[in-house]
Symmetry: D2
Subunit: 284 residues, 4 copies
């Protein structure tokens, strides 16, 4: 039995849920999960549905074609069916920080992530030994003002070569170019080490320390052209106090970064995230 995931969004209309669930019944699918959300303000309907296909003679391709010509057309939907049993391919971009890389590769090796990691790309050579340790191809793609275009081309070529589905910036300290963002819209996940929108940009722990906050945070979000302004996927926080130095903030923050990024990877790879209006709907 094949397991599929269906994501839908469209203008809110009467009868969508009934139409979709009837369709699944028609193609002999067993609905194992359904969740929906209506953004009342913007009048948008979202749905996530998981199903077991019980009749092997009805292929996913045929179902897609049927859906496209009937329901999808009737309601003018944006939609996609995913084969739950296929793991998406995730590229890791890193610079010099080790903690998120170790955390992701540890989880990966422990079998916790529903992804394949075909390659790691870095603008520095420093973390190659860790990639070697975990037996994952490592590509050193230097990235400076002068070689920007060349670097971007190399990145894109590698991503194509390895058929990468989405990208995770595990404390990658370079701006992503607009061209790459356009190619992977809502498919590049960044971890920012503050509770956005507080402290965007560089050195957020230093700014948080200076402001005397009592709680620090971390935020994972999709990368858009506006720095640290993309749709937020996940946030978490930790208490701090006057006894903590900036270094303490940084050390406590590492745990936040690890966890908030790992959760975002999990949500995205399990197709539980939908985006619109620079926000996310998380079906978890």
């Amino acid at each position: 039995m094949q397991n599929i995931t269906l994501l839908i969004h469209c203008k809110d209309q009467k009868g969508i849920i009934a139409a979709v669930t009837n369709f699944i019944v028609k193609v002999e699918g067993n609905i194992t999960y359904i969740d929906q959300h209506v953004d009342v303000e913007q009048d948008v309907f979202f749905m996530r549905l998981e199903s077991q296909l019980t009749n092997p003679e009805i292929s996913l391709a045929a179902i897609k074609e049927d859906f496209k010509q009937t329901i999808a057309q009737d309601f003018n939907m944006a939609w996609d069916f995913y084969n739950k049993d296929l793991k998406p391919k995730m590229a890791l971009f890193v610079s010099k920080y080790k903690h998120c890389l170790y955390d992701i590769l540890g989880r990966y090796s422990a079998g916790e992530l529903n992804v394949e990691i075909p390659l790691i790309i870095s603008n520095h050579i420093d973390l190659k030994p860790i990639a070697d340790q975990f037996n994952i191809p490592f590509y050193h793609v230097p990235f400076t003002k002068d070689n920007k275009e060349e670097g971007e081309q190399q990145q894109i070529a590698l991503l194509k070569q390895y058929e990468v589905n989405f990208i995770v910036l595990a404390r990658y300290m370079q701006i992503i170019t607009p061209k790459l963002i356009a190619l992977y819209q809502n498919k590049i996940i960044n971890i920012h080490h503050s509770f956005l929108p507080a402290f965007p940009g560089a050195k957020p722990y230093h700014s948080a320390f200076k402001r005397g906050v009592k709680i620090i945070g971390a935020t994972s979000h999709y990368v858009t052209e506006e720095l640290d302004e993309g749709p937020i996927i996940e946030q978490d926080i930790a208490p701090v106090s006057h006894i903590n130095s900036v270094d303490d903030f940084i050390m406590k923050g590492r745990d936040l970064e690890r966890i908030v990024l790992a959760r975002a990877i999990k949500l995205h790879s399990e197709r539980k995230v939908m985006t619109y209006s620079n926000k996310t709907v998380i079906f978890s």
Copy 2:
């Protein structure tokens, strides 16, 4: 336009969601919210649906009758329709602790609770001035081993007189009798001042202090005949440390008790809680 809430549970079967949503479309309801849950282990299906009825000529009574004879029968459902615009009537049981009572009455007076509070019942006279302050009828129903039956009769008579829908024990320090529990099954909410199942029974803060825990908690649950063993509605926690005395535990715990009880009242009064197998499904 009337707003209704529909709660359903039954054995999990194919086609339930489609059948129910079709029914709502048929009676000209606009589905504004739908959520469902399947307990895969026990094979039970749960659904919560909110709808605006758009045709004033189709009454809620007629809808109920129709539903009963069609869908409910086909799927052998336990179900209920609620008029969202009617506030449930909530009785407060208290003893001597003031903090939960003040908190609930403050929220009630600030318009935060979707309930009516027709009366307060207490086994002590101490908190009558607070009831007076908020203009709510207060009944002193002493409750001792000797007058148990009489006390119970008085309680039940008052609850009937005021047409009470559910009961909240705001740190009521008496065992509820089996007869009352049977009359208000899954309709009596208690707040226990520990993170159940840790520290059931009396003096949980003292036990937590003795054990040297680093986190304390509070738990709101429905009352069943097994003390502190009923279905859990809501829990929350607060950090403690070696610098905290038992009195600090008690003081910090008060904030937990207030909030955890208030959330349970909100969830229950908005019909977001379903119970089965001594557990709750919370549609929030």
Copy 3:
């Protein structure tokens, strides 16, 4: 036996702790609590000490004089002794929101706050019934652009008349004038309904909703001339998701506001807060 609290800050120097603890031993005080903090970056030393005076023949006044002429001079300290058994007087400023007012008065009446509340001041008449309900004098001091000076004079006169030690803005929707801020430096506590420095100013819940954050917050801080920029005393957060409307944010936020403000009141009234460089040291 009298209980006293001593707060000190000064340039960090060798021998301060030994000197102070020797002094307390000399005046026959029993040290029941001592905590200190050094801001290494700024080279400032902070200390909080509680003591029981065991010799009734040595008065607090005499101790103060002795301390002033010895230790305080030697180390060039800013310092103050407080009589722990005297409750500080707290004025409440409110506008139209009820929830923080009910919460504070409920806690006050339940005996949880170590303060006296001699009066409530408001720029609107709306909440007078709540003040009446709790038997606390209520003063309606309208405050508009036109009567600014008059309003301020009336406020200050009332604060003097009632010998107010500190002020709590329980969702008071008016700017505090520089003159009042100067009179009560680090003695006016505000509750801001966001996780500062995110979303300062008006309508933070609306901004948070628009940004699509996954966590909302509240912040209590001392009022300075820069709006929402004063030293932070306490912060807390609550998770939100796409299913929450702006109204849900507001409702969840109320619980944060209540708790974060109540904690700040408790910390301030127990002299556990010291301020410097627009930050706080919290000895808790």
Copy 4:
């Protein structure tokens, strides 16, 4: 300049703080941190002090001897000086679970832990490849009812050989023998996958699921002869709901286990934990 840490506990008495701080001044130490705690109920005094020794001619050995013959004797103290610059040696005990092992070794390799890890001991061979990956000696010490004594002897011999200071059970699924516990009293850290004292023993996530709790937890504690009853070092929690299966509990729990164990290792290795009456004092 040498950095030292001093831990003290003794019966609470007048003048301890002054005596100790005077002593440090005498040996030309610069106090960089001091914290103390009095358990009022049990009349025990605890202190943690960090100091920089500024005179290279006064050795730590001499200081110890001086302290022993003066202050320590006067107040009948239990005490120890530690050289902050020496990393304690930590042995890892594992069985088959990978997640805590990967997490600890990742942190270790990223330079986050103030320890040396000279060896890993396991009752199974399964995790040897991970030890190899991180270049740490791995010893397979089978442990069954039949070879208990032999296994214990082998463990103890290895611990001696590598001069191990403390032991971390990173989901080690074997009971530790009384002899080993006696040798490493309050020096064996276990991670239990529940919010103790709730759900001690085997399969806590299954029990938590069955009880319908809304929050799960993890607890790190020192190992004593009573299973899961030792002094608690650190606890943390995560929310769960009806939509989570037992497998979800287990997966969410892994993040708790990783973090709660890592925090305990950090606290212990930095000598911030003192134990008494089966509880801990955490100076953090």
